[in-house]
């Protein structure tokens, strides 16, 4: 196991007679350096030396991927590699000379040699062949990949410089430094140390006052000063902002949906939750559990549900004509991939199309995992014509909004109870009325269309001549059920303006005659709605679906809607009476469908309507067609009536019957008579219903005002899970349905609980999980050292970089879990260590023996992150606005960038929004802010666990020319101009604010010379100074000379661009 092997390294190095073959895990440079210590006879370590060779050269064709396996040979397992084969087993343990593998990799025959030349894979070096030979000779032992075995703490190594260590972790680091014959570096100078830890923990530079206090205190009590500084920093609200920045990369957080239209979406409340969670030090296991499954936690709070927005932050599209199922499959896959990268450190996505080529992850396991993330009532496309939040959603009301909707709901519930009690209370009125042998009239519509004649494409509305109907694209007038009817082509339709403009808090109903020529998979009969998926179907609609009649009111399909569908298929080839009725209750129980005058048995398809159905400019009520939907091809419609109330069974029976065959009220069942009376006759019920509608309106308005956010919910009708062959949404392997599950190479799911996301989160955060804690501590290490102990923070699999210090990684992971997943404690521990506090100077010895700084015998200097570069400039200049959270902001950016995106112009914010911290900068995925992406900010299109760190000419251009940075330089100049009279003091203040340290004597000379030269220049060219001042928008205090300020601005701008400013040292 990794820790045992690593542990042996320490002792081996103490004894030169022992084998050092196991050193292979250390970087090549070090191996060379230690070459004198090594004797080549010992068995090589499988994890560190052998598997990387096999993985690199062999596994692509002879690894876990069954589908691609060549010659039925697998070399990633002992059984596979030693299996008897024609021509001899690939591996014969103990007998290198008899192992076919060795012969093949050594062969020069292009037909024989492995890897085959056409594979593009490199030949094995002689050293690699020798390693394999020694491994086979020693028995060809296979070990489970280290990352799939739970971490254990190795005994602390013995070190010579024990006094240097401040924490156990230093011992693990020091052991390797000493083993390499090197020594750790001295502690960094105090000013740089404070700058380092302040930027690392808050993302902001220390202020001059903080620096001065620290230096003064440090001189007296170095340990106490550092401890108190840490306490201050960890208590700062900027701590959460700093740590959140990295988490936003993993969560692929952005303010827009991505893909081509890339519309705004309101997800910043989730970002603020992350900041807050880090600030109050929510335990990491809870932090993860809430984001994965906060909605499924018992008695889930709003906050816990909000956290699950993590899973919805992937890109989404609304591109016209896209196939909904294709993109929903993409979204689910993105959740799985993100889960893999962020929590498991595994490249699950490789297994989406084929078994993983290196790690034990089968495609069926990939899809078994996907089942956890595929239970929400969502649509693969968001709405183009409305701003509906894609479901599932969480309402995020303000306190006032919460109160308003609670009040409205209370009033409504009281009225509903009253109405429910009314029939009981007014039984005698009903009886009296019934005794009068009533013959109730047919219900009175608000609009009626007979479709008997067309004039100039218009047809009559018998009840409202001012609002005739209108055909478009030429439906035909044909003989109908009564007189004429309209026949539709599927591409044409009719508009019925003035009728049917109902909200979901109003009752309404329709009666019509319909003739359908053949079974319709899908056809629009009637709708008030702009479009199908392009509008999330917002509105109401009467459709034929899979041969059946359906009726729905929709805010966003499918999660915010009520819908019913008849169970029997709709009769074909003849005139059939259809009625649809809705009672205004916003419940599926308030919907009814009638075929041929009687209730058609139906099923409830959806029963969750909250938000309005009238947004997105739905236009008038329309027949037989809808934008990008399937029309009623060959269908005919006749005698349509629109009602502004719900219909009773008796109403419909009357509407459906021929005049001579009108049903007799007296023959009705008592319950039907009673229902009709209280719906259509009783005056008290009518009065109550009027108040009820008003109360529904009130509640609807209250709910409409409440903002929502996309979250997770397992609220969709059960979906079966299948392997999607080659990842294709339309090619499921239906013969083999899958259960939700986790990969076999990892521990099993807990027993006795439903296999849902909560079980998955519990599984993940079980302290014995081999990956979760390692992956987490590795990223926090990366945050503080620029590079993780596993350099490939996104990949702990076989092809990932082996840990530079496995004992250290495991000790941190084990302690992290044992300490209750305490993030602040972990970070405190690391920044308190002697390792972290070293100076960053690269001595010639270190440059020679450890140029890449694998051993951490010095602090690994690194460029500030994109956010830190800008935030430091803002903070140093005093411009920074320290408001935390809220909607994202738009600081200045070069004009015109959004013009390629059809998104309208970028309108920069005014005022302090220009100077907010960079994590609040509006993140438009297709055109992200250039001054951040040029400094390697992640694009936020997919989950990213590790950013690049480049050094490009365009970074110099940003630092020197970006008006945001020029403004900061000018403000910093202005600041020191007013703070100090002495020019050296001014220059020193500029330098300290940006680099943390005071300039040395020769640096001060340079700064002075630049200041003087630039001042002379600006004195000679006063218009230049004025132009610079104008461009920054700053104003000089009375008596200040523009040339003085401009020169200082040039100095500040220069210092901003220095290595000492942009690099953490």
């Amino acid at each position: 196991m990794a820790q045992r092997v690593g542990h042996r390294v320490e002792f081996d190095l103490r004894d030169e007679n022992e084998s050092a073959g196991i050193l292979g895990g250390v970087l090549p440079g070090l191996v060379l350096f230690l070459g004198a210590l090594a004797t080549p006879q010992g068995p090589p370590d499988f994890q560190r030396e052998v598997r990387p060779i096999l993985a690199e050269h062999c596994f692509a064709c002879h690894g876990p991927d069954e589908g691609q396996r060549k010659a039925k040979l697998r070399l990633d397992t002992f059984a596979g590699a030693t299996a008897e084969r024609e021509g001899g087993a690939a591996l014969v343990p103990g007998r290198a000379a008899e192992s076919a593998l060795l012969a093949r990799v050594a062969s020069d025959d292009p037909e024989e040699c492995m890897p085959p030349p056409k594979s593009g894979k490199a030949r094995l070096t002689e050293a690699e062949q020798a390693t394999l030979a020694r491994w086979i000779a020693a028995g060809a032992r296979y070990d489970v990949h280290w990352a799939f075995v739970a971490p254990q703490k190795a005994p602390l190594p013995v070190v010579e410089r024990a006094a240097w260590c401040r924490d156990e972790l230093d011992r693990y680091v020091l052991a390797r430094i000493e083993a390499a014959g090197l020594a750790p570096s001295a502690e960094a100078e105090p000013a740089l140390l404070l700058r380092r830890v302040t930027l690392d923990l808050t993302g902001l530079p220390p202020t001059l006052m903080e620096l001065d206090e620290f230096l003064e205190e440090h001189a007296r009590d170095p340990q106490g000063a550092y401890r108190r500084a840490l306490e201050r920093l960890l208590a700062s609200p900027h701590f959460g902002e700093r740590v959140a920045s990295d988490w936003l990369d993993l969560a692929r957080y952005a303010d827009t949906y991505g893909y081509q239209s890339d519309v705004y979406r309101r997800v910043w409340p989730w970002r603020d939750w992350v900041i807050d969670a880090f600030n109050r030090n929510l335990a990491y296991d809870q932090f993860v559990t809430w984001q994965l499954a906060g909605d499924l936690v018992a008695d889930a709070t709003r906050e816990q549900k909000l956290a699950t927005a993590f899973n919805r932050l992937h890109r989404q599209t609304n591109e016209g004509g896209s196939v909904e199922a294709e993109f929903r499959a993409e979204y689910v896959a993105d959740r799985v991939n993100t889960f893999g990268t962020a929590f498991l450190g595994l490249t699950l996505e490789c297994a989406r199309c084929h078994d993983h080529k290196y790690d034990p992850l089968a495609t069926r396991e990939y899809y078994a995992l996907s089942a956890f993330f595929d239970r929400g009532d969502e649509c693969g496309l968001y709405s183009h014509f409305t701003d509906a939040t894609p479901t599932p959603t969480l309402a995020l009301p303000t306190e006032e909004q919460e109160l308003a909707s609670a009040t409205a709901r209370g009033a409504l519930e009281r009225l509903e109870a009253e109405l429910a009690a009314l029939p009981e209370a007014r039984t005698s009125e009903f009886e009296r009325w019934l005794a009068s042998a009533p013959r109730p009239p047919a219900p009175q519509p608000v609009a009626r269309y007979a479709f008997d004649a067309l004039a100039d494409n218009h047809f009559e509305n018998a009840l409202d001549p001012a609002h005739p109907g209108e055909i478009y694209e030429g439906p035909q007038l044909v003989p109908g059920h009564s007189g004429n009817a309209l026949r539709f082509s599927g591409d044409n339709g009719a508009l019925l303006p003035g009728a049917g403009e109902f909200a979901h808090w109003q009752p309404f109903a329709f009666s019509l005659w319909l003739r359908v020529p053949e079974r319709k998979e899908r056809a629009v009969i009637l709708r008030r709605s702009r479009a199908w998926t392009d509008a999330g179907s917002q509105g109401y609609q009467l459709l034929l679906e899979e041969g059946c009649l359906s009726f729905a009111l929709i805010h966003f399909w499918p999660g915010d809607a009520i819908a019913i569908r008849t169970r029997g298929e709709f009769p074909l080839g003849r005139w059939v009476h259809v009625a649809a009725s809705y009672d205004g209750s916003a419940r599926a129980a308030g919907l009814a469908l009638y075929v041929e005058g009687v209730r058609a048995p139906w099923s409830v398809v959806r029963d969750h309507l909250v938000k309005p159905i009238t947004g997105g400019d739905p236009g008038p009520l329309a027949l037989a067609e809808r934008f990008r939907d399937t029309g009623l091809a060959g269908g005919e419609i006749d005698e349509l009536s629109v009602f502004a109330r719900a219909l009773s069974d008796f109403d419909v029976a009357q509407l459906a019957a021929a005049p001579e065959a009108a049903p007799s009220f007296g023959e009705l069942a008592r319950a039907a008579q009673r229902a009709h009376y209280f719906l259509a006759v009783d005056p008290a019920a009518a009065e109550l219903r009027t108040r009820l509608t008003a109360a529904r309106h009130e509640l609807a308005d209250a709910l409409a005002a409440v903002p929502e956010i996309m979250t997770m919910a397992d609220d969709a009708p059960a979906r079966a899970t299948y392997v999607l062959r080659r990842g294709r949404y339309d090619d499921p392997d239906r013969a083999h349905p899958l259960e939700a599950g986790t990969p076999n190479a990892l521990p099993p799911l807990p027993d006795g609980v439903p296999h849902d996301r909560l079980a998955l989160a519990r599984w993940l955060t079980d302290g014995r999980h081999p990956l979760t804690a390692r992956v987490a501590v590795n990223r926090f290490w990366q945050m503080l050292f620029g590079r993780g102990l596993v350099e490939t923070a996104e990949n702990f699999g076989v092809q990932g970089t082996p840990p530079a210090n496995p004992e250290l990684l495991d000790a941190l992971a084990v302690d992290f879990v044992a300490g209750g997943w305490d993030v602040k404690a972990l970070l405190t521990r690391i920044v308190t260590s002697a390792t972290y506090r070293q100076g960053s100077r690269t001595t010639p010895a270190l440059a020679e023996h450890d140029p890449a700084n694998q051993l951490l015998a010095r602090y690994p200097a690194r460029r500030l992150s994109a956010e830190q570069v800008r935030d430091q400039a803002l903070a140093a200049s005093g411009l920074l606005c320290t408001t935390i959270g809220g909607p994202s902001v738009k600081p200045w950016q070069p004009p015109g960038l959004w013009s390629i995106s059809a998104a309208g112009d970028y309108v920069p914010d005014e005022g302090e929004a220009r100077h907010r911290r960079s994590l609040y900068t509006f993140w438009k995925r297709t055109v992200p802010p250039p001054n951040l992406t040029l400094f390697d900010a992640a694009r936020r299109e997919v989950c990213v666990a590790r950013r690049g760190s480049t050094n490009t000419p365009q970074q110099a251009l940003v630092l020197l020319n970006d008006p945001q940075f020029v403004e900061a330089a000018g403000a910093l100049a202005l600041r020191v101009l007013t703070e100090a009279q002495d020019e050296d003091e001014r220059l020193t203040r500029v330098f300290r604010r940006l680099t943390g340290r005071a300039p040395n004597a020769s640096e001060l000379v340079e700064l002075r010379a630049l200041d003087l030269d630039e001042r002379e220049g600006f004195v000679v060219a006063p218009t230049d100074a004025a132009a610079l001042l104008t461009s920054t928008g700053l104003a000089l205090p009375e008596g200040a000379l523009a040339a003085d300020w401009a020169a200082l601005t040039a100095v500040a701008s220069t210092v901003l661009s220095l290595d000492a400013s942009v690099t953490l040292r």
Binding site: G321, Y358, V798, G948, N1000
Partner: protein
Amino acid sequence: MDSFLDPTRRHFLRGSALGLGALALGDVLGAQEAGALPHFAPRARRVIYLFQSGGPSQLETFDYKPLLNAKNGEQLPESVRRGQRLTGMSGNQSSLPLAGSLFRFAQHGASRAWVSELLPHTARIVDELCFVKSMHTNAINHDPAITFFCTGAEMAGRPSMGAWLSYGLGSANRNLPAFVVLVTQKPVDQPLYARLWGSGFLPSGHQGVQLLAGPSPVLYLANPAGVSPLARRRMLDAAAKLNQEQLEREGDPEILTRMAQAELAYRMQVSVPEASDVRDEPDEVFELYGPDSRAPGTYAHNCLLARRLAERGVRFVQLFHPGWDHHGGLPAGMRGLCKETDQASAALVVDLKRRGLLDDTLVVWGGEFGRTNYSQGKLTADDYGRDHHPRCFTTWLAGAGVRAGTTHGATDEYGYNLLEPETDGVHVHDLHATLLHLLGIEHTRLVYRFQGRDFRLTDVAGRVVNELLA
């Protein structure tokens, strides 16, 4: 070696990290990072890709289908469609009427290539062109399709073509980026976005640099108002000295790189405006490219810029001209788009040729997919639309190493399917493989290790289409 760098470098070489110092300088000079490249002698030194965004109709440009005129208005036979998927835009239409092109076709040049009347200038250079009429792709919607074309993958996060070339071949002009992007400035429905020229998981320095119309052709290139070149020079000199102090203090070779990058930025402040300032071009050049070429932000102007950048050694220039997405009103739309692009596209080939640049410059023209042979929306006597069609469309190549005056591949007489998909089909991956081949790169060997896997522009596919090569 730049004189500025010399003393630093000598100083640095006295230090101990010789290897790293040399590496850093290599980066600065834009040398390639991807191992021994090119793999073999290249035919092309650089590429100009004229990307026609939105999906130009092959049926109104190059793929002449008289049968569609004969059967105008008849339904697309199921025997032709074969159940293949349509977009949700025309997929719900009750009928799919075949639409013949409204435009006349004629054969041109010694190669007798068919070109429609919409492209008179292109018609004159057909003997320089190699038409690929058997292009096909996977995606049917814009975003996945254009992302696929530009990066070799439908999903986000992969490096673009130009980023791969920058990574593989570096820059031939250390004062200009290796990969420059020029987007026609016009209001459009189908947006473009930085992902299409992004660096994906490659180091961000390989992303395409968008050249903008206006005073600051590269973002942040211009000094702030009031900062003269002299003032800036003083700043840079002071920064160099201060960074030198820091280098002595820290011994970190990265400091050296940062110093050199600042100097490169300074040189770009001269070299980029010089390259993008066309005022020194003679009138006859503007006449060649057409009247638009004097107006910054137009396609014609960008074609002219592309030639200037090619002359100066930029490896990959990619133009984007949006607006070809003619779901409806196609005849009018095509008239407009062809007028915007025809003369300048042809002029670029002519201009490169007369300057001797066409021998080692590859020019590619095409969009992300083609358009359907049936009308989206109503088919009338003088109007129709066409929906997205990934199964066949036309691209042309010209210049370095390409078989001029030829046509490769063909579609069926309905213009709906490839005639010989197995043998003649050119998939996006195949085009990429061929493009890399012309640049001396074996596409299976230009790889970058990311997430434990070697990634390629051509993923796990791609065939060099030898039939296109001279």
